[in-house]
């Protein structure tokens, strides 16, 4: 079932993301994903996140599909040109993957192979366009396919961006290029989601609000200083002053999930790597 089908059926979907291993030993990641899948509707498999070299998302998504885990395979434009990206999408569909989250990808200078050449032949918008063409039975060069894909296309938007207007313009371009659902970058102030939801409602696409589990005050401060994600002062001080940062992080995450339930189509959880923690958060959010 595609994530859009799940959202339409359940009205509120929960996804969580995990990273493939750095190497061939996938059992730990696979077991964690299977355990977490019991508490969520689908598991995102990241692709070379933070520009680090790892097992590709397609391999782990395929392995998890064999274990009946619904997955959202992430794909980025950093490491492949348009020939390879289209081929990857065909490969993914052939291996049973239904959902693909199309991202631009982090800059190589943020990763562990800083000397690498980055590609960006396409970007997130043109990748979505390519995916739509493949779903329609042709490639970017206009050639017909012997068998079209039927992938459910997702994209990302950052509601914390300041100014927000360029992000919203790009969100519309992604919708026009074929995005059917959005998983946002982490949000801590739910009001920031309103302009994103407005566009989503106008265009009949779905939004899963990004929720990042904070482990410590230091982590919260780092995100505020080094990324396009805004952590409000009250959250920062709650985390920094807490005697039990994990419990405080769980409370903050659970509150955000409850708030999201009121206004959007689901949540996308980040920073959670085991089923016990995930269960504690979800139990508290209900």
């Amino acid at each position: 079932m595609s994530i859009v089908d799940i959202i339409q059926k359940k009205k509120f979907a929960v996804t969580v993301e995990i990273a493939p291993p750095k190497g061939t030993n996938y059992e730990k990641a696979s077991n964690a994903a299977v355990a977490m899948a019991e508490h969520v509707d689908a598991v995102n498999i990241t692709e070379g996140q933070s520009a680090t070299m790892r097992m590709g998302s397609m391999a782990l998504a395929h392995l998890l599909g064999d274990k009946s885990v619904e997955t959202i395979m992430q794909i980025t434009c950093r490491d492949q040109n348009r020939i390879s990206l289209q081929s990857t999408l065909i490969n993914a569909f052939t291996l049973g993957i239904k959902n693909v989250l199309c991202l631009t990808g982090d800059h190589v200078l943020l990763g562990d192979h800083q000397e690498a050449r980055q590609v960006f032949d396409l970007d997130s918008v043109s990748l979505l366009h390519a995916l739509s063409l493949l779903n329609g039975g042709s490639d970017m060069a206009g050639n017909s396919l012997t068998g079209a894909t039927d992938l459910c296309a997702g994209a990302v938007v950052n509601p914390s961006s300041d100014p927000i207007e360029p992000q919203l313009i790009k969100m519309k371009r992604k919708i026009n290029a074929g995005a059917r659902f959005f998983q946002t970058q982490p949000v801590f102030d739910i009001d920031l989601l309103k302009p994103v939801l407005e566009i989503a409602r106008e265009n009949n696409v779905y939004v899963l609000m990004g929720v990042l589990f904070l482990r410590s005050g230091a982590m919260a401060r780092r995100f505020n200083e080094k990324s396009g994600i805004r952590v409000p002062e009250d959250v920062l001080s709650r985390m920094s002053d807490s005697n039990s940062p994990e419990n405080t992080g769980i409370e903050i995450t659970a509150r955000l999930i409850s708030e999201a339930r009121e206004i959007c189509d689901g949540v996308h959880l980040m920073g959670i790597n085991n089923a016990d923690l995930l269960k504690r958060i979800i139990d508290k959010a209900i």
């Binding site: 982090d106 207007e165 371009r173």
Partner: protein
């Protein structure tokens, strides 16, 4: 030798829009010094634009469109006697960008720059041109997304822009797409960002015929400094 190709009048006309009065600003620098300047082409361009219904109040020729002080000086002088809404720049990509950042007018390229032939006019530092053979400056406020964005993205900013700075090196680098957005907003052309996805045609960079022409010229004339 600067190798560039003038865009089709249809593309130029669509970019400029129907209601505008457009100044042609032509660079005479590299083309003249390399001996391939063709002034008659400017009159032809003016007449083609007028044929498409555009008003062209003047043609301004500057020695180097990549020299900010020259551009500012001449635009100020022309601005005293002529009203115009936008500027069509006949130059390489560096010239177009220099005009864009030194004026408050909408700026569009008339040419696709294929090769500088080893020399870039009077320019130093930013802005830069990648000689891609398919100039997109008309869609991006006269600021090149290939060189101003650290990822060279064509369809908008990534999610990592922080307070208008690039997440890769916020201390030293502005987000190119933040600059493009600001310029398009200031000049009332955010509509240019709502078009179909831009996808680069890499086959247009360094086309074989242009390289053959360059090689023939070097061989026949023994040009120095190329």
């Amino acid at each position: 030798m600067l190798i560039s190709k003038r865009k089709e009048i249809k593309e130029i006309s669509e970019l400029i829009g129907a209601e505008e009065s457009t100044l042609i600003l032509a660079c005479n620098g590299c083309a003249e010094s390399f001996g391939n300047s063709e002034q008659s082409q400017l009159a032809l361009l003016k007449s083609e634009l007028e044929g498409q219904g555009h008003k062209v109040p003047d043609i301004l020729t500057v020695d180097f469109a990549c020299e900010p002080s020259l551009v500012k000086h001449w635009l100020e002088i022309v601005g005293r006697k002529t009203d115009f809404d936008s500027i069509l720049v006949v130059s390489c990509g560096v010239g177009v960008q220099t005009v864009a950042v030194n004026s408050n007018k909408r700026t569009f390229p008339a040419c696709d720059t294929v090769s500088f032939g080893g020399r870039i006019g009077q320019a130093w530092g930013d802005p830069r041109c990648r000689e891609c053979g398919e100039c997109l400056l008309g869609y991006t406020g006269g600021l090149c997304p290939l060189t101003s964005c650290s990822k060279g993205l064509l369809n908008g900013p990534c999610g990592g822009s922080l307070n208008g700075r690039c997440e890769v090196n916020p201390e030293t680098r502005e987000c190119g797409w933040h600059l493009i957005y600001k310029k398009l907003k200031e000049t009332g052309r955010l509509d240019l960002l709502e078009r179909a996805p831009l996808v680069k045609d890499h086959s247009k960079s360094e086309p074989p015929e242009a390289l053959v022409a360059l090689r023939n010229r070097i061989t026949s004339e023994g040009s120095e400094g190329i």
